[in-house]
């Protein structure tokens, strides 16, 4: 009898890129539910618009680059990018901002760099930064929430020395992200190194300044539970493609993000800083890998 020949090993644990990406999407669900509870269904519309745009752009780029459509369209990586971007945008942002941002994420930040596995920057964060710089007005339009919750985005509020009446929504959303993140840890989709190093470095640096002058600097708890901190720690900084490789290198990479978040939030021009902190450390990741090998 003749047989087919292949190479060892002949078994596999059945993990796949698409399974990892699906698990990421599941882990985002609690935060989406809480988001809907506080800000209404608009976020769902945004997630939908972003996903359609992402899949279309992915298909277009795959065709242009002559890559297999099916394998890459079903890997869910484009949807993850779409979800992360939509969740980072203000909920009542004009639809074309969502479309433009997602298209930029997939076409420029992902495929121009070589597609899945080759991108230097986190696509969702690159798109977010592009939008923030190009359309500052639309990107900081939290007016509807201002009406309903009588408060601007929390970090903007602090910046403008406004009175904050309701931070609860963000705290709950962040706790929901934390829940999803812990599930990812439990499922071993991510390891503890990046979230822990990023959060601890943020706590330490904010605690130092808070202890020096509590009137001028906000508390560590405030930094943890507001803005995109938790989402960044568990869902964005952990993107393996754009992070450093070895565990030790990942600790350094994530600690850098934590510190940069604090620096940009406290002394920078933009209200939230996760996107810029992540992008800056994305750039540093290859260098960290070069010097820190195991």
């Amino acid at each position: 009898m003749e047989f087919k020949v292949s190479n060892a090993p002949f078994i596999h644990n059945n993990n796949s890129v698409s399974k990892i990406m699906r698990q990421l999407l599941y882990a985002l669900m609690p935060a989406i539910v809480v988001y809907v509870y506080f800000f209404g269904w608009n976020i769902v519309v945004n997630l939908f618009i972003a996903s359609i745009t992402a899949l279309s752009c992915e298909a277009l780029m795959l065709l242009l680059r002559k890559r297999p459509l099916r394998a890459f369209l079903t890997d869910y990586s484009a949807i993850v990018t779409a979800f992360l971007l939509a969740l980072a945008l203000p909920p009542f942002v004009p639809w074309w901002i969502t479309v433009l941002g997602t298209a930029f994420a997939i076409i420029v930040a992902k495929h121009v760099y070589g597609g899945l596995g080759y991108n230097l920057f986190n696509p969702a964060m690159a798109a977010y930064a592009m939008l923030l710089i190009s359309f500052p007005l639309q990107m900081s339009d939290w007016s509807v929430i201002l009406d309903t919750l009588s408060g601007a985005t929390p970090l903007d509020a602090i910046k403008n020395q406004l009175k904050i009446t309701d931070l609860k929504a963000w705290e709950w959303i962040n706790l929901a992200f934390l829940l999803g993140g812990c599930w990812l840890l439990y499922k071993k989709v991510i390891t503890w190194h990046i979230p822990v190093a990023m959060l601890i470095s943020l706590i330490i640096i904010s605690a130092i300044f808070f202890l020096i002058n509590p009137n001028l600097y906000s508390s560590p708890l405030f930094h943890l539970l507001n803005g995109a901190t938790i989402m960044g720690a568990f869902f964005i900084a952990t993107d393996p493609v754009t992070a450093a490789t070895s565990n030790k290198a990942r600790l350094i990479y994530a600690a850098g993000i934590g510190i940069l978040i604090y620096v940009i939030r406290t002394w920078g021009a933009y209200p939230d800083a996760v996107a810029f902190a992540v992008l800056l450390m994305n750039m540093a990741a290859p260098t960290i890998d070069y010097y820190v090998k195991s």
Binding site: N7, A8, I11, S16, L116, T245
Partner: protein, 485 residues
């Protein structure tokens, strides 16, 4: 409870061992033809010492060289010495001695040793060499060479058997525990007496462990249970777990006073000394979805795999045949291949594996987490892809034991082990080419030097000759003048 260490990473695997582990070892039939390859492990092929037409007895040496000897595994007539398929990754054909058996199974007279303790280590080792015993765990390294080093403090008999599907060692330990223990004692004697002699068994083989405990009751052999985690049976991993010593591949275990032998090797050594029996058969696990009767069989070396599979009621829908386990085994192109000394398992599989399409590496790091040698498989992969072999070596590719754990967990289904194979062979080729060109350079330099030297010598000679002839002419003239006057 003995203190155990841990090795880095490792994976839990579905063993598939219950398919075959509960049935006793049965004796396989004598085939009509025996095909005995002259090369069954790394090294030089043995030289045949029989001719076509010769009658050979069971146990008679039919080929040998310094490293190994090959015996007729049953009696019959040598009908050919010709190239034949053997289990080899590249489908290599190797010269084999083909014997047509006469079903009489007539033994050559055996020479058992009644008391090996009265013999010197060297003499025992010669008996082991004569019996043609090699490492039966997989690599097939000649045992007598492995038992040469002196100053060995610890002997480890490896009964971990961590690969999925394989149960031949399990069955052997259950049924012939005494042989394993006594074999361990003989090996220990051959090494000049060791301080510790350990038989290590994975803790999923409860019955084997119990049998060994009973068999070793009156001896110094320790039986130690080790956790069931792949690749526990790897030499470096087992040494690390039992002794805490982390070895790199460039250091042989003997350099830290350790020798590791497989359990079946120990039993073969026992039989060679106690009964004078050379290595003529081995236990083979025949398993997988493609056989109705998965079981362990004692198979004569040289038996065709097809004949073995038939005895296990092979189905007609087998798609793949693997020799060895499902993690490190060798996929074979057909079943017209003989069972050799290192054939511990045959997996006949009906599954038509749909190869998951390979995706790009997403740098998830799962591979580095489970690598039992604590390497960075992902970096090795990237550098191999970039053909930066210097970096590949820097990242210790030669420490890789090719256990396949990285490929097993890779979410992108990248055939990492195949990349490492490629890198290793490229590096070897580059090195041998570098060596060749270095030799050529040296030859060239020497040639230039020689030409230069010869030129000088010639010049010297000419000069001498010239002065000489001048002197001679002068003398001649002087003579002539003298005659004139």
């Amino acid at each position: 409870m003995t203190h155990l260490w841990k090795f880095h990473g490792g994976i839990k695997l579905d063993g598939h061992k219950t398919l075959s582990c509960d049935k006793p070892i049965i004796q396989a039939k004598i085939p009509q033809f025996l095909v005995l390859p002259l090369l069954q492990h790394k090294g030089e092929p043995a030289d045949p010492i029989v001719k076509v037409g010769d009658y050979v007895f069971k146990g008679q040496i039919i080929a040998q060289n310094a490293a190994s000897s090959i015996h007729a595994s049953s009696s019959g007539t040598v009908i050919a010495i010709e190239a034949h398929n053997i289990p080899h990754p590249s489908g290599l054909k190797v010269d084999c001695i083909v014997i047509e058996t006469d079903a009489k199974d007539q033994w050559l007279e055996l020479e058992p040793i009644s008391d090996y303790t009265s013999l010197s280590a060297d003499e025992v080792r010669q008996h082991i060499a004569k019996a043609g015993i090699v490492g039966l765990g997989g690599a097939g390294f000649p045992t007598h060479i492995k038992l040469k080093p002196t100053k060995i403090a610890t002997l480890i008999i490896n009964g971990a058997e961590c690969e999925p599907y394989i149960t031949c060692d399990d069955r052997l330990m259950r049924e012939r525990a005494k042989e394993v223990v006594l074999g361990a004692e003989i090996i220990s004697h051959t090494l000049g007496g060791v301080k510790r002699c350990i038989i290590a068994v994975e803790d999923n083989k409860v019955d084997a462990y119990q049998a060994l405990l009973i068999a070793s009751a009156n001896s110094n052999v320790e039986i130690i249970k080790v956790p069931t985690i792949y690749p526990m049976g790897g030499e470096t991993q087992l040494i690390e777990v039992l002794t805490g010593n982390k070895l790199s591949r460039s250091n042989l275990p003997a350099s830290i006073g350790i020798v590791v032998q497989n359990v079946e090797t120990a039993s073969a050594v026992y039989r060679a000394i106690e009964y004078g029996e050379p290595l003529l058969s081995r236990i083979v696990t025949v398993t997988g979805s493609g056989v109705h009767k998965p079981q362990n069989m004692a198979v004569l070396l040289g038996t065709s795999m097809r004949f073995v599979l038939e005895q296990c009621e092979v189905t007609s829908k087998v798609n793949r045949l693997i020799m060895g386990g499902s993690m490190m085994g060798l996929s074979l192109p057909n079943d017209d291949i003989p069972i050799i000394k290192t054939t511990n398992c045959l997996i006949a599989s009906e599954e038509n594996e749909i190869a998951a399409s390979t995706m790009p590496c997403i740098r998830c790091g799962s591979c580095a987490e489970i690598c039992p040698m604590d390497l960075l498989p992902q970096q090795l992969y990237w550098f191999t892809k970039a053909k930066d072999f210097q970096k590949v070596e820097e990242y210790k590719i030669f420490d890789c034991i090719e256990c396949g754990a990285c490929s097993y967990v890779c979410p992108s289904s990248i055939p990492l082990v195949s990349y490492y194979h490629y890198a290793k062979s490229e590096i070897h080729i580059n090195k041998s080419e570098a060596k060749k060109s270095e030799l050529a350079r040296q030859r060239h330099d020497f040639r230039n030097f020689r030409i230069e030297r010869e030129k000088k010598e010639r010049a010297e000679r000419h000069k001498k000759a010239a002065t000489k002839s001048k002197a001679a002419i002068k003398a001649e003239i002087a003579k002539a003048r003298a005659e004139k006057t």
